[in-house]
Symmetry: C2
Subunit: 338 residues, 2 copies
């Protein structure tokens, strides 16, 4: 059995707890959180679980700041489930000094620096840290690199959606007069069709995706100004065609509480004397956080095994044999899955 | 530069030569074949290539049986391009004792045994052998295992086609009265749609694929008997709905000379409280041998690197870090592809 700790109990942390509950070779030893009292309440109020009944909640839910108690949990791998902006860059190195870790750090531009920091801490401590593992970055990165390695001179395109982008929802929520916001990223069908047909166009951002934002506005807010501020917001919205739709708080809750997402990695290239070869990886997720957590949990298995074999340092999904993700032995994988 | 040798100069060997010609970090050092004189003729008659002009053909094309000359080629990695039935099981261990090797051995049931044999020879010789690397087995195996690792309790389905199956074409060609045969494997759309919609049915073989066979018959052959023998052929055809169409030799040549293929790996599973998650990997290939060769060439890069780092033994695509397949460094992969 692999002993798991969850660090951060938001959407992904909660999802990770559910995934571990269904994973026969793992046991959840505890949750490290900034708000232990609240999390204890949530767990007691939630569906009863056999495992939970056996565990003293005070031992199981620890305060993020009481580091001296962390070792109590007896954790083999800590799954970092905090945010990539503020939590993981700080918590990552701190945790990697004590445990094997897995995270889904997803600020693409900062991955090289984060990898270096994690690598030196983890090596020093003799731990394994798998970084930036989710579906993008993560599986999609893998598929981009496979496409590039197999089809020399080919082109890869990544489309996201239709699905909720947390970052864009948060950005819209900061506009004055906005109570709540939910942003859906929508890939543009015509662009997908062109790439699927084997074309290799150069697209602008606007040609690949559009954005749809549902807004609950404050009473009396100037809706035209709110809309204008969202649509023209640099980096997040101004380079896309954005539609803003105002809805009631009740409708937001009823229709937009799920976190579906998905996307495609399409690679198109020519081999030989002009033979068209097209590779496509697609995921269609009713729950983005639960799928991300599923990838993290499989990576925790890999981190545990690699560390048992004496490896240490930081790894992306490109840096270790992917058979380690599977609960099955090499023999079974070769006989049943190859 | 990585020095490559091609062993076997059929469809895949020829395709590998084309792929290597477009791969900047590799140079083709030579071809090992059973029919050196014929291959020399083919190369001289083919499109002129700068590299070829510099090479003495007698040094470049060697007889499979003159083993003492093989070392002349100065090969880092030998790509085995022979057939899985008779060539690779014999040539694999023989070559692995002398070179790093890559092959696409695809008799699924025999992979475990072949892996073991290659592992012991390659370890003994201090070489790396990547086995069963193509798109299936190979990338499709990887996607089946990722699907299984990420979606506990989920189901994976592999559909092939629409495309030419060499094995089924060969089997039909052996029926008395058949001059030539081309078999297309066709996935059944309704089955694909059910899996894409998130259902996890148990399909019979007949429910997933049908077979379409084009036959050039001998003059005066009993067409009804030919058709019956094909449709009822055990293992190859009897478990499928098979349609047989008789065509002229001219039509066969004009319409069925290409080797398109493709397929899908679909994995569907539930996470949390019943959220449906669907993963799909799809390839759509105008030339099956050229794509298989492209995968083999990328694997040759991985074999070379692993051996330089001191590794040895047999590896499937699940057993080494996939970043090794890429011509780019880890730094570039992390900054541009993650």
């Amino acid at each position: 059995m692999i002993n798991i700790g969850i660090v951060g109990y938001g959407n992904i942390g909660k999802a990770a707890r559910k995934v571990i509950g269904k994973t026969p070779d793992m046991i959840l030893r505890g949750i490290i959180t900034r708000r232990p009292e609240q999390v204890k309440e949530e767990i007691l109020g939630g569906p009863s679980e056999e495992k939970m009944a056996l565990i003293n909640l005070d031992r199981y839910v620890l305060d993020l700041n009481q580091k001296r108690k962390w070792n109590r949990l007896g954790v083999d791998v800590a799954i970092l489930c905090g945010g990539s902006k503020e939590d993981t860059p700080v918590q990552g190195p701190e945790l990697a000094a004590r445990f094997n870790t897995v995270d889904s750090f997803d600020t693409h531009a900062d991955i090289p620096g984060y990898f270096q920091r994690m690598d030196s801490v983890a090596k020093e401590a003799g731990n394994v840290s798998i970084v930036s593992a989710g579906w993008d970055p993560g599986i999609f990165s893998l598929e981009r690199i496979l496409g590039n390695a197999f089809l020399t001179g080919g082109e890869s395109y990544t489309f996201w959606g239709e699905g909720v982008s947390q970052g864009h929802s948060d950005a819209a929520r900061k506009v004055k007069g906005v109570v709540d916001a939910r942003q859906y990223t929508i890939p543009i069908e015509e662009a997908i069709q062109r790439v699927r047909a084997g074309e290799t166009p150069e697209f602008s951002k606007r040609q690949m995706h559009k954005r749809l934002v549902f807004i609950v506005a404050e009473e009396g807010a100037d809706l035209e100004r709110v809309k204008k501020e969202i649509v023209e917001m640099p980096k997040y919205y101004d380079e896309y065609d954005t539609e803003v739709i105002f809805i009631s708080e009740e409708e937001m809750k009823r229709k937009h509480s799920a976190f579906p997402h998905g996307g495609f990695v399409l690679t198109s290239g020519l081999t030989g004397d002009g033979n068209k070869q097209i590779l496509e990886y697609k995921c269609q997720l009713e729950s983005n956080p639960e799928f991300t957590a599923s990838v993290l949990v499989a990576c925790a298995r890999a981190a545990y095994r690699m560390n048992k074999e004496g490896q240490s340092g930081a790894f992306t999904i490109l840096d270790f044999p992917l058979g380690y993700l599977s609960p099955h032995s090499g023999e079974i994988l070769r006989s049943r899955f190859m």
